[in-house]
């Protein structure tokens, strides 16, 4: 293989991009209008835009998850945090009809959003404290909030689904800016901000060093506890943002179902993108592609008219394939099968 081609195929984003491209090609073969974009009601309209819009909350959560996984952590409470953030925002906005028939919000919109995000960040900080200060395994530490979080959200709402009537709130999940969905702008700006922060400052290096070898990083003078705390807090915050987008999109907050199984999809998106679950190696762009793969797959299954029940089986096949491709033992096995006579190979060398 030519060196230039090899460098291209060995790029960490090669396989995720190929997977996404394949999915898009298959979709457009079965549905010729899949890639078509039209301008309708002042914004772009089409299947691709729809996928981008729907993938936005997953992208946001998965970006936070990427950093947590990069420092050898895991956060399985993000789904519960999405529910908490959605509930807090919906409760604070409320919405009552005034005498003139106009919908008023109980608290100013900015205050409701800020409180929801602050609560979500506090959830992340709590996870971080359990991991860093109490020294718990990340999966256990976040399991606590995963179990209790939905209970707390249901406690806040009294088990009811809170409906929001205040229209300005709907912009987050349904609005458009410069022809593109607002949710997409949020996800994209978060990605770009994070990318700049991690590539233009030493923070990215620190995160990689903590994930690579926490003890060595600490000895080398990296403030690993503080950085790990920040990473978990950010992950909570990201889940909070996703919660706002989700609740704004459906104009309500369902403490029991909002963000259900989102933690699994987020971990899946991160792994699909090529971030190592063992920490140290991460790629934000890969995560975004991973989130798009999951959403494209879901949309494709619906648009092909395949029963949606197949979705989970296909997803499991996808996880399985990616898992095997990332396993060094599996690659060795394949290499051995491809070259059945190792002794001959050795002589030639």
């Amino acid at each position: 293989m030519k060196p230039s081609v090899k460098r291209f195929t060995q790029h960490p984003l090669f396989w995720p991009t190929i997977t996404l491209a394949l999915l898009l090609i298959v979709s457009s073969v079965f549905n010729p209008s899949f890639l078509a974009l039209t301008w309708r009601e002042g914004h772009l309209y089409g299947s691709v835009i729809d996928i981008l819009n729907r993938a936005a909350p997953l992208m946001v959560v998965a970006l936070g998850m990427t950093l947590v996984i990069a420092v050898r952590g895991l956060d399985i409470s993000v789904g519960a945090v999405v529910a908490i953030s959605a509930t807090v925002a919906a409760l604070m906005i409320g919405g009552s009809f005034s005498a003139t028939g106009e919908v008023q919000s109980a608290h100013p919109l900015w205050l409701a959003l800020a409180t929801a995000l602050a609560v979500a960040a506090a959830c992340g900080l709590w996870n971080g404290l359990l991991v860093v200060k109490a020294g718990m395994q990340p999966i256990v530490a976040t399991l606590i909030l995963m179990v209790a979080g939905r209970g707390i959200a249901q406690l806040l709402t009294g088990g009811q689904i809170i409906t929001v009537y205040y229209a300005p709130f709907f912009v987050l999940g349904n609005g458009y800016f410069l022809g593109l969905p607002v949710a997409l702008w949020i996800a994209a700006s978060l990605w770009i901000a994070l990318h700049l922060l991690l590539s233009r400052t030493a923070l990215g290096l620190f995160v990689r060093s903590i994930g690579g070898n926490p003890e060595a990083a600490r000895v080398a003078g990296v403030r690993s506890s503080a950085i790990t705390l920040c990473v978990y807090t950010f992950c909570g915050l990201a889940a909070g943002v996703a919660g706002l987008i989700v609740s704004s999109n459906v104009k309500s907050a369902d403490a029991n179902n909002a963000g259900q199984l989102l933690e699994l999809d987020a971990i899946l998106a991160v792994t699909l993108g090529g971030t190592a679950l063992t920490g140290g190696r991460f790629t934000l762009a890969g995560t975004v592609i991973g989130a798009l793969i999951i959403q494209t797959l879901t949309s494709m299954i619906y648009s092909l008219g395949v029963p949606p029940e197949v979705n989970l089986v296909v997803k499991s096949a996808l996880v399985f394939t990616v898992m095997m491709l990332q396993s060094a033992e599996f690659r060795q096995l394949v290499a051995r099968i491809a070259r059945p006579n190792p002794s001959l190979q050795g002589n030639r060398r």
Binding site: L74, A134, L145, V147, G151, I267, L277, L312, F320
Partner: protein
Amino acid sequence: MKRLLPLTVTIVLFLAMAAFGAIRYDGFLSLQVFLNLLIDNAFLCVVAVGMTFVILSGGIDLSVGALIALTTIISATLLEAGWHPYAVMVTVLALGAAFGAVQGFLIQRFNLAPFLVTLAGMFWARGCCYLISTESIPIGDATYAAIAQARIPVGGGASLTIGGLIALVVVAIAMRIAHSTEFGRTVYAIGGGESSARLMGLSVDSTKIGVYLLSGLCAALGGIVMTFYMLSGYSLHAVGLELDAIAAVVIGGTLLAGGVGYVAGTLFGVLILGIIQTLISFDGSLSSWWTRIVVGALLLLFCLLQRLFEGRSPRAS
């Protein structure tokens, strides 16, 4: 003795909750109420016992809830097709064991993360449920109905179901396996340190596969117990049960890092989860979501407690 401390705390906590219930609510202190803890949580108990072995070996199995649902739905479908009830039971047990063994093989042979493998297994099993049927399938088989309604009197007017009995038998067998077989000792050794277990010449590879096989088998048995309890097969049965099982194991005093814990603790972990629900239903004014909050708080308590013990034991230097 220090190792028995988490188990002691679990049992004391259970007794304290029982005492609280007995003082606070009329009719709480009866044998039947306590037997009902076992009857209503029999499937959870069976699954949690399998999960105990997985966690003792330092792994995790997220697929058990989905596997239970798959078991109930396959059982219901096969019974509808006119299979003999006992043939159905043997078939689903074999399927569960095979499913677990495949997961174990992938984890062991390709050195994959148990979390990811069993996550894929969870998606696959739940997906297969949806493929077979999205509707709930009732079970009208006479044998199943008879087993479901059978009551074993234990004296004093109280009685136990077959499901509850199965749970107790499973706990007894599992205690025997964990503490006095080569397999059980190897599981503890792997949880304590896989490379040291390997250096000691223990059969780490086959034991690791065996642990997941056992968990799959327990999940299938849990599924059978659930079909007795629900008399239906449904793709949405046992959603999130894997979390309850993990919680029961942790509350039972098993260290999530592996290597330390008791099967008996898991039984009490399950009973504690059950008694929380019973207390809440006896109270009547508390809503169901308090269960989640209390379980979360208990998880926190036990994890912190474990960290405390680890910090003090000389092992953790």
